[in-house]
Symmetry: C2
Subunit: 381 residues, 2 copies
C-alpha cells in the first residue's frame, strides 16, 4: 500500500440535525441519516436521491455522490444495499481498511463494518477537537443568538413591570402570571428570531431550588425567579445560554444576600478567565466565595442544597460541549466559549443562578452577555 | 448462574431528548445523557445529583439511583468514575454479563464495556418494536399535535385570502409574502400550542420541485406551494406530519391535472390501508396511478423528476419510524400510525405533495388528518 492507502478514513453516519460533528464538517442539515467520509482532505457525502440536489446546493463537502450507484452495484451482486455495505464497497475500492469514528458512532454500524473486515476505532474524546475553538465568525453567530435571548428577556421584564401583586402572586392582563405563560411568551419571542428555545426554565420559589426544573404554575412575588434561556438558531445551529434571577415585589434580606453572594462568586470567576488558565480555578473560586460567606453544600433531608453543579461549560453547536468548567477542569484557550453560572439553592429559602457567556480571546475574554445584573434591573417593584 | 443471572440486561446511555427509545421507557427528558438499565421487569435510572430530584418526580422508572454512590466506590478503588465503569460495577454486582443495546448505542461505550468483559450486542432492528404499535392514548397525543398543525395552516389560508397579487407575487399587509414570513407565522402559531416545528417546508414554484427544500424568498402566485408541517410536542414528544399544496391566484390546467393526479393516487393508497396489508401495495398503487396518467419518473438533465420518494412512514416519538411505506414495505398492523404522501415534481412546471396520517385500527383505519383537500380550500383566488 502507498501512503495514501494507509491513511484511513473518518466516517460519520448520522442525521445532519442530530450530529453537531457532521454538521460542523458539511453544514448540511437533514432529519434522516446520511453517510459522510473524510479521506485525507476530501470531504465526501453519500446521499439518496431525495436529498442529493439540496446536498449539492447547501453542503460544503468537496464531493456529493448518490448512494443509488452503489445500491445498484450491490443489488447486482446479490448484496443488501445497506449503509454498511455501501461504505464497505466504497472503501474497498479505495483500499482503505482503517476507519475512525466518533465516540457516539452507532454500534450496529460499527459491528457490521467490523464483520466486513474493517478496523473501526471510536474516538476517545471529541472527534473534531477544533470545534471547541471558535472563530470570530462563530463567536458572532453565538452573540447573534445571545442578542435574541436578551431581547426576549427584556420583554418579560416589561411584562413584570406592568404586572401587579395580589395575594403573593403576580397578575398581568387580568390573570395570574404562570411559568407556562412566561415560557410561552419567551418561546414566541425567540421563534420570531429563528431561535428554538426548548426547555427554557422559568422557575420561582421552591421550584428554583432544583436547577433543571423547568417550572410550572403561578409565579411567586417577593421570591427569586430563575430564567435560564438556551436556544439554538434554526439555520446556523449555534446555541447561546444565559441565566438571570429576577424578583417581582420586595426583596427580603435573606434573598438579597443570596443574590449578592452568587453575583460576587460569578464576578470573581469571570475575572479569572483568560487563555492558559485552568478552568477548575474558576470553579474553585466560586466554591471559595460560597464557603467564605457561610453557604454550605451537601445533602439535607435527602435533597442536595448549596452549590452542587459545575461552574460552566463550553457552548457552540451543542449546548454543553468542551471545555468543562468544574472540579475536573481543562486549560482555557483562545477561541473557547464558556459559561460562568454559579448558583445557590436552599429548599425553604429559594434558588439563585446567574450566568454569562465568555469568549476567550488572545489576551483575556469578551463577555458575550450584556444583560444587566444590578438591582435596578433584576428587582422589579 | 441461576436463571435470573442468565437473563442479561438492556442498557441505554443517552440524553432523554435525543433517544426516543429511552424516553419511551422512562418518560424522563434530559438534555444530557443518563444511564438506563432494564433487568427483567425492573427499569432503573442511574443519574447525577443535578437531575435526581426531577428524575424521581417525573420518570416512570421503578428505581432512580444516584450515580454518586458508584462514583465514590470507584474513586475509592482507584478507578475512573466513568459511565462505563459505573455500569460495569453495577452489573458485576448483579452477576450479569450479557448486555443488549440499541442499534445506535455509542460505540465508545460499547468498546469500553467489552474491554471490561461484557458481551454487548446491538439490536438489529428497533430496540422496542412495540413502539410502532400506538395505544389509543398515543394516537390521541398524535391527533392533538395534528389539530395544532391544522389550526396553524388555517391561519395561513386566512392570510392568503386577505392577500393580493401584484406582478406574480403575493402581497400581504403592504409587503411581499415570503417563505420566511409564512414559516415564521406558522412556527409562532405552533409554539403557542407547545409544538416545535423545525424545518417546516413552505416552498413554491421551482423550489417545490425539491421535496426537502424548506423554501426561501417571495412566494409565487398561480403556482403550487407545498406546505409540509411536522412538529413535535414539547412535553409529550409525539410528532404529527401533514402536507398540503395550496395555490394563490388562478390554477393553470397543467397544475390542476398534477394536483388531481396526486390526490387520486393518495386516495387510492389510503383506501388500501388496513391491518395485515403489505404497505408496499400502497406504494405500488401510487406508482401505478402515476404511470397510468402518463407521469414519468427518472433523471432528466441531472435532476430527478416525477415520484422519487417513498409513499410514507410511521410517525410517533420520531418523525420517521416503523413501518415503512415504500417499495420495500412491511405488513401493516393495528396500532401503526403511517403517513400517505405521494408527490409529483417536475422542474419547469412545479411540485405537488399531499399527505395525511392514518391510525391503523382492527378493521381498517382512522384518518388523523382532517384538513380539506378540495379545490374550494386549496385554491385561494
Amino acid at each position: 500500500m502507498n501512503k495514501q492507502e494507509d491513511s484511513g478514513a473518518r466516517l460519520i453516519i448520522a442525521a445532519g440535525e442530530a450530529s453537531p460533528d457532521l454538521y460542523y464538517r458539511t453544514r448540511f442539515l437533514t432529519p434522516d441519516p446520511y453517510i459522510y467520509l473524510e479521506i485525507q482532505s476530501e470531504r465526501i457525502i453519500l446521499v439518496n436521491d431525495l436529498e442529493i440536489d439540496r446536498a449539492r446546493k447547501e453542503s460544503i463537502a468537496s464531493q456529493v455522490l448518490p448512494t443509488r450507484d452503489w445500491e445498484k452495484k450491490l443489488s447486482a451482486s446479490g448484496k443488501s444495499p445497506s449503509a454498511i455495505n455501501i461504505v464497505s464497497a466504497f472503501l474497498e475500492e479505495k483500499k482503505i481498511l482503517d476507519i475512525q469514528v466518533p465516540f457516539d458512532f452507532p454500534l450496529g454500524y460499527a459491528d457490521g463494518l467490523r464483520k466486513n473486515g474493517f478496523n473501526v476505532t471510536a474516538s476517545a474524546g471529541p472527534f473534531f477537537p477544533e470545534r471547541a475553538f471558535k472563530s470570530r465568525d462563530e463567536a458572532r453567530q453565538i452573540r447573534t443568538v445571545q442578542i435574541g435571548v436578551e431581547e426576549s428577556l427584556r420583554e418579560i421584564v416589561r411584562i413584570l413591570k406592568e404586572s401587579n401583586i395580589r395575594d403573593g402572586l403576580i397578575h398581568y392582563g387580568g390573570t395570574v402570571l404562570t411559568s407556562e405563560t412566561v415560557k410561552s411568551i419567551l418561546k414566541k419571542e425567540l421563534i420570531g428570531k429563528n431561535l428554538l428555545g426548548e426547555h427554557t426554565i422559568v422557575a420561582g420559589g421552591e421550584q428554583a431550588c432544583d436547577p433543571h426544573m423547568e417550572g410550572e404554575g403561578p409565579l411567586p412575588a417577593h421570591l427569586p425567579i430563575v430564567f435560564d434561556i438556551f436556544p439554538h438558531h434554526e439555520s446556523t445551529r449555534y446555541f447561546a445560554d444565559m441565566t438571570r434571577t429576577l424578583f417581582k415585589g420586595s426583596v427580603k434580606p435573606i434573598h438579597r444576600k443570596l443574590y449578592e453572594t452568587v453575583l460576587e462568586a460569578q464576578e470573581k470567576a469571570i475575572s479569572l478567565a483568560r487563555p492558559e488558565e485552568e478552568s477548575r480555578k474558576l470553579h474553585q473560586s466560586v466554591v471559595d466565595v460560597f464557603e467564605a460567606r457561610g453557604y454550605r453544600t451537601g445533602e439535607k433531608n435527602g435533597r442536595m442544597e448549596g452549590f452542587f453543579h459545575g461552574t460552566g461549560h463550553g457552548v457552540g453547536l451543542e449546548i454543553h460541549e468542551a471545555p468543562r468548567v468544574g472540579k475536573t477542569g481543562e486549560l482555557l484557550k483562545e477561541g473557547h466559549v464558556i459559561t460562568v453560572e454559579p448558583g445557590l439553592y436552599y429548599p425553604g429559602i429559594g434558588g439563585v443562578r446567574i450566568e454569562d457567556m465568555l469568549y476567550i480571546t488572545d489576551t483575556g475574554f469578551e463577555n458575550l452577555t450584556t444583560f444587566p445584573k444590578d438591582w435596578g434591573t433584576v428587582a422589579i417593584p
